[in-house]
Symmetry: D2
């Protein structure tokens, strides 16, 4: 099977140029001017960008949380991903306390079985680390899990203590894995939440007030210090606050291998959204919470300077009706998370590139190339290059559209970006050479997404 993408403007993390792309089977075989190749399928990309398929290294599909389950499973979630130009996701398999890491891995593979519409990998989130579990880490790396996550928040459920964190860091370093972490001080938050609830401070805004940016900065600094002592690299997920970015920047300026991710919600939404009437603020309840707008330019600057290397979604959807409203009387009962797997590219292009915050190559770097490199998907994924997987997005910058939940493919009844005027739309998406999205429709095959055995961390 040969596909010829003709005349597009190819954008990589480094370069921008006009050329044709010849795809043979699953791979890019050639890139050139006026390629004279026979192809079963020709896609006219003139005036359009040809981007590497985006990679989302932070999703929570089919995840139990607070007595409910996130609203997208691997089918609806990866399908929505594809529709939004994302051709690979790395989801979090979460260890149940008392069980093995392998159990988590198997459970999540089961969730994915026959459903994935694009390729996927798995991180494992460690919640409990007795010695036998510690010993499992290298085996998991062998199985393609070259990254683990730990939580410094969610006291009483997901949170680990510093000893666990430190042990995981040391073992990860030996095993060629990267440790990522949720950086908020769960102890402080626990005290504040209890106090606020006891005081009747139960509206969504108190979610944010119970999780101050200083609690994020503290946990971020602590994790970096532990990583420095363990001589291990570390990756901050969903960094939301400039105060935390300062800690990352200081560490990087000292030469430490510290990496950090932010998400569109922290670049575009703010603490003011918690005041949306009729409990609408619940839609934005995620952790870390949305911050003051003063953080926005600092985060954009961090993306440009390089202290923030990736933009992922932390897609963790819960329906407003039936899920978010479990916390109508108490913010602490609102399931944490916002949907975003489908909208990232639109937001980053319109607000980021067209908004003059970042360049086009930088956008590709943030949502595709660097995530691929940090998490062992590169060079198969994350770029447009000869020999790489033909995970391609033909992106039409001329199309304008308004983001609205009803037009999205995410299985959730709202989007935080309702009404956002986007410029630029996905015209076609190829996943390993097959067209999976086109003309606003999913045209791929459910279950065709493969599990990615990710390479060990090296950087």
């Amino acid at each position: 099977m040969r596909v010829l993408v003709k005349g597009g403007t190819i954008v990589t993390a480094a370069d921008t140029y006009v050329a044709d792309v010849l795809v043979v089977d699953e791979k890019v075989q050639a890139i050139g001017q006026n390629l004279q190749a026979e192809a079963e399928r020709v896609i006219d990309a003139k005036g359009k960008y040809v981007l590497p398929g985006a990679i989302d290294v932070h999703t929570h599909l089919d995840m139990p949380f607070g007595g409910t389950v996130s609203a997208d499973d691997f089918l609806t979630g990866t399908r929505a991903a594809a529709m939004g130009g994302t051709t690979a996701v790395v989801d979090f398999a979460i260890q149940s306390k008392g069980k093995s890491l392998r159990d988590a891995f198997d459970t999540w593979q089961e969730k994915a079985r026959g459903k994935a519409c694009v390729d996927y990998g798995l991180h494992v989130a460690i919640t409990d680390l007795p010695d036998p579990v510690l010993a499992e880490m290298p085996e998991l790396v062998e199985a393609g899990v070259s990254s683990f996550k730990l939580f410094l928040a969610y006291k009483g459920s997901l949170m680990v203590d510093d000893a666990t964190f430190f042990k995981a860091l040391r073992k990860a370093r030996e095993s060629g894995a990267l440790i990522s972490f949720h950086g908020e001080n769960g102890d402080v938050i626990d005290v504040l939440v209890k106090q606020m609830v006891a005081a009747g401070q139960v509206t969504p805004r108190y979610h944010a007030l119970s999780r101050p940016p200083e609690a994020e900065a503290e946990a971020t600094a602590r994790a970096i210090a532990l990583a420095e002592m363990a001589e291990a690299p570390i990756y901050v997920v969903h960094l939301s606050a400039a105060l935390a970015l300062d800690k990352v920047a200081a560490a990087r300026d000292r030469g430490l291998p510290v990496y950090a991710e932010t998400c569109p919600q922290y670049l575009l939404k703010s603490i003011e959204d918690y005041d949306e009437p009729e409990f609408g603020g619940a839609k934005y309840v995620c952790s870390p919470p949305l911050r003051d707008k003063a953080n926005w330019p600092r985060l954009w600057s961090g993306l440009n300077t390089g202290h923030l290397q990736t933009v992922a979604t932390d897609h963790c959807p819960f329906n407003f009706k039936g899920q978010k409203d479990m916390g109508r009387d108490n913010f602490a009962a609102i399931p944490n998370g916002v949907p975003g797997i489908e909208t990232r590219l639109y937001l980053m292009y319109t607000a980021g590139v067209l908004g003059g915050k970042i360049g086009l190559n930088k956008m590709v770097d943030l949502i595709a190339t660097t995530p691929a490199k940090l998490f062992g998907l590169y060079p198969d994924k994350g770029t447009v290059a000869v020999g790489a997987d033909a995970d391609l997005v033909v992106f039409d910058p001329a199309v304008e559209h308004t983001i609205t939940a009803s037009a999205l493919h995410q299985n959730v009844d709202y989007t935080p970006y309702e009404g956002f005027k986007a410029k630029g739309a996905v015209a076609a998406v190829l996943s390993r050479g097959k067209v999976v999205a086109e003309g606003g429709k999913f045209v791929g095959q459910v279950g065709a997404g493969k599990y990615i055995v990710r390479k060990r961390f090296s950087a």
Copy 2:
């Protein structure tokens, strides 16, 4: 009873001048040139300094630790203090888990009963903080305990979690108390100690290696962050590492009410001392451990700049024979602590003032005035001023002597400063108007030291 101290050079935190001091009963009544007063006792202080009695806000007398008890009790400890020019100590009453703070207070009052040779106050160290104990804090403040300490190290025994720490900070703020803390990350240290011991790395030097300066910097930064969120002041005890000082300096430069203490051992002794032959390194096993010498100039600079406000001793003596040697086969079994209650003034004057590191007024400020102010002993103590307690030290800068354990009054078989050539000696000490030390002899009355009901924190 009237005592006239004639012709001395009075030194306060701000001023240096020659004058006579007239003491009537327990107080300083007048200071002047050629005071014409009748006095039962005249002390010729010509050519000598008249200093405020030093205050040691960090001592551990009669304290159980690791299956043994610190070698000085309130009698020998406060007597040695007096001999070294210290006229007030604030000792740590340590809560037993499951017991009340009041119980700790009472226990320590019992230890002190009839023994104290100079005045004393008590901090209470909190190790366990269920709600009823939390509720005790204001009562303790009422009883003169205007400061509490928590430990971020000593996992499994004294260490508290961040929630406890945060709750204590908030309650302290309400109650007018100051929280101090031992700043080392106990989780990391616990992992490292176990691993080192398992690997047969058991000599005293491993004590230091198991407690890296980064673990101190991390805990210090964390405590400051928690205090910032609690909007409470905070006091770092025994800061040993420049990396931790950086955290204090950054906080203070932002205007936060953060205070810090260091001790002579961190200014004068180093990690190299752990290599003293024949297990001699055990003498220096204290926590935080001695650091690389490169930290010394940074700490002196911190004292000068004002980021470090006090010098205390952390006097916690264990005999080399019979106590320190419990850890001959395993550094982790060495009782932690060094003696120092008697030698501080000599060290600070010789190494600090004569060594060109700090001025004489600054020395007085560090060992007397600021400790008195921070811990509620001022204006009765901590200065030479009309109306203040006549806690005075006549210090002869002309006398040279060599520090040696046998000549000291501490009840312990060694001193870390053995052989130190000191310039300047205590000629006489007055405690509330009574001469208690003179001619190298204790001439006071055992038990005459009173418990000090310390004032609430305000700064």
Copy 3:
């Protein structure tokens, strides 16, 4: 002559206590409770503070500037100083280009002759430094000029280049003198002023816009760097911007001997004042200019932390009518300077101490003790201590009054603090044992102020 100040609350940089002060001739002879001394004069200070006479180390009396002369000469200026509780000033003798430093010194001595109402010292401001002038510096130090100032602003008139600055620093270090400097980048300001004037941007607000805080921060950082290379101490006069304070703090945290002064106008007035109608903004034209209010808390914090050590006035008065209005059509023609020699104590006590920004001892330290120590007036001046000059202020905290130009003794037709509600008033002032102000009247003798041969710098 004996004066007994009875029952006041004595405040020094370190201590606060109630006692009587016995003055004999020019000196404090005794301090005590219920001093039984015969005295020709008894001042009842009960309920009042007894403070050391304040010291103003930054005044410009009888100074030519921009074609006019500052409105206070040594008579009116030092008389106003006395009325406001300031018992010593250090004025700037400014070298004329092409002339010697000695010439400047002599010229200013001539200005002071027979006029000074309180004691005074002289700095010399260097504007031109060929080798013979450089060689004069030690001689001037010998004559009591232990500090020199250089300007990094005022291009074309007072400004020196970095080579001159660097040479002066090195020579000062050899000679035991302290270099102070006006820290603004004169080159940038010169370009901006010319451009603004050319563009018709001529109202007082443009004075501030032509002198951005970054220009102050730059010059401050540069001067510190030059001092570091010269291994010399340095003193920043009239620091106005938090950005510049950051540079001072960073240097001090590294242990460099950097000192800095701010002035009440930078703590209490802001850039908004330039918009006072009817050209009223001209009253606030001084350099550095008033800044955004956001700087205020940062400066107060710097005073507390110790990165700012002194508060002086930069008293440089020009009448609104006849002087300030020379620049009605062009801000660049407005003589630079604000009056303040008389109001400092009121402002610092009311806004600082009563406003909860600084403590009372700190206030004394900032306006008396540390200036005295840094500039070689201590221990004669700057404190209340036995043996010191009896330069004393009896300050009544109970009196309320409103600052208004007509009630002040400064020889200038306005005050920037018009309408300020002050709490606390000067009840009496002693200068070397003589009462010079009392009951709101100057009762001293014109010309009784002596030139102070200041000691060499040492710190």
Copy 4:
């Protein structure tokens, strides 16, 4: 003319992959696996890297300095560049005082006429900026000079004052040009040099001692501050000291558009080299001078973190015999500069990539892609991409060789890297599609290098 480069491993700033490259005339036409193209010339690149031709944005060819002229002219210099894998240089045309910028441009074009062996661009160095010269800047930009340089060092010759610098920054911003600068404080250096020479301190090491790193840090910070006030981007040439890097990092962390370059000599040679016997230290006399080795890891870290974006050579060759030895009796008479135009790629690959300091893509980014982007040569140059100039280097990583002056093509009698064991050699070089170097021989055409009309700065 068609050239097929077969089977090489293509390396760009972002990607690494194996493919054939088809060159048609001057451009890359296609990149693919097993390209079936007819070609006049086939180059077997199997097992070799195919890199973009390196770009050297800092050279001084045929430059008058201190009474002599740099030893390479455009012929020998660009030929040596080609031999070392550099296919474009941007040289500095230096304005003579009193003359126009255009004059400098014309003079340098005359120097290059008929000689350039690879393409070249020109910066103009501004030494004198009266208004008519300021007005020329946009015209020069129009002529392809999209960058200007100013010197903060070389007092009395090249140095400009801050006003000139600031005006140039503002005009550059309007014109779409980037200002670069030599960052050392010329005033301080001038004082130190004179003093050292006067004291008989004349050996090469004093060159370094007269130019301390603090003088570089100061000038760097000042230039950044001026750029911030001018709201203009800025580029630091030849950054040598970690202290200066700290200033760059702080600015970038605040989001300022500050860029910086270092050179191989600052990564690999040190102040100790000045002690090479028999006046050998003179070989290393360049400005800024070589620094203490402790700077090396900090600079490598800066390259990795992204605070340093480029590595250029500052190629400024003077023969040891006949030029460097002009300063045998006085370091100040040694012409400043080291050769390096030919050796950069070897050094960066061996010491950087193989030494584990930087990745291969990063190396390409530093020596080709980012220089091309910052200085307006991109996308024609700086990458391997379809449509770009076929400026290609086939680099054989298997060849080992020892750097020695006699084997280099630079027209100078020594190399600072004599004896350096390099791994990896240039096998072939294409300049706009023509093979210019092969088998260690220059096979191109003298004068075939074209002047590059560089694009305006945008970033």
